[in-house]
């Protein structure tokens, strides 16, 4: 009887290399002036941060500071991977005014809304 299951050998070239990233946790708030986004990326400092705007999306990439490991590992819960998360932006945001602040491994992104989008009172004239 012939073998029922046949496997194709996986060519080494077929395997694609991919880098694993951790998804950082975020808090997102909206006020009438804009959005505020807080992302937790412990082990990342200002130099390791890469924020890219592409179309209507924003990509946050945080590269960890290289830590010299000395000695024997007794417990490991942290990951060595870098952080990455992509968000879709509300078109009301004025992308030229986006600002970022990095403090103790926490990124605070401020994304103000464009002036004309903010609710504004219209005065009725007689």
């Amino acid at each position: 009887m012939k073998a029922i299951v046949q496997t194709e050998p996986k060519a080494a070239a077929e395997r694609t290399e991919y880098q694993e990233f951790i998804v950082p946790v975020v808090n997102i708030f909206e006020t009438k002036d804009g959005y505020a986004l807080e992302a937790e990326m412990p082990g990342v400092n200002k130099d390791g941060l890469e924020i890219t705007l592409e179309g209507n999306g924003i990509t946050i990439l945080g590269r960890r500071v290289a830590e010299p490991v000395n000695g024997e590992l007794l417990l490991r819960e942290r990951s060595a991977a870098d952080y990455r998360r992509v968000f879709e932006l509300d078109p009301a945001i004025d992308t030229s005014k986006i600002s970022a602040k990095m403090e103790q491994g926490m990124l605070t992104l401020t994304l103000p809304k464009s002036e004309q989008v903010k609710p504004r009172k219209i005065i009725v004239s007689d």
């Binding site: 009887m1 073998a3 029922i4 299951v5 046949q6 496997t7 996986k10 694993e20 998804v23 946790v25 975020v26 808090n27 997102i28 708030f29 909206e30 006020t31 009438k32 959005y35 505020a36 807080e38 937790e40 990326m41 412990p42 082990g43 990342v44 400092n45 500071v65 830590e67 490991v69 000395n70 000695g71 024997e72 590992l73 007794l74 417990l75 490991r76 819960e77 942290r78 990951s79 403090e103 103790q104 491994g105 926490m106």
Partner: protein
Amino acid sequence: MNLTRYQRSDLGWAGFGRLSSLRDELDRLFESPWSELARTSQLLSGWTPALDVHEDKDNFVVQAELPGMKREEIDVSLHDGALSISGERKVEKKYEEAEVYRTERFFGKFQRTVTLPAPVAADKVKAQYKDGVLTITLPKIEAAKPKQIDVNVN
């Protein structure tokens, strides 16, 4: 037809190949956004910051991930050979009249305790909080350090 059992030995080998690639797929599935599932266990136990513990011949080094906190919100204490890291992250009302879209960050109290396998000099413990990582270096007491013992042969 023969009533002997069909020998699946060669089939089994091929089957393993398939199974291991399936497992690779599953591993990758759980590694990616589904790792959130692993974090749901934290919803029940509260916030437990990740720890790494290293040991070299002179020190123990404990690293805890505590992003976005202030130094005074973190408390480190050593008692009976057990290192305890605790603190509270208070909810700050930073934004006026804000609508909250997502809150994934943890707030509130946390505590992690690590029992050290060897005694340490409590007065020489150092703690540093940088880039959201708390690094605690605990020097071992002289007696606990590994020593070479010379063997004399008569």
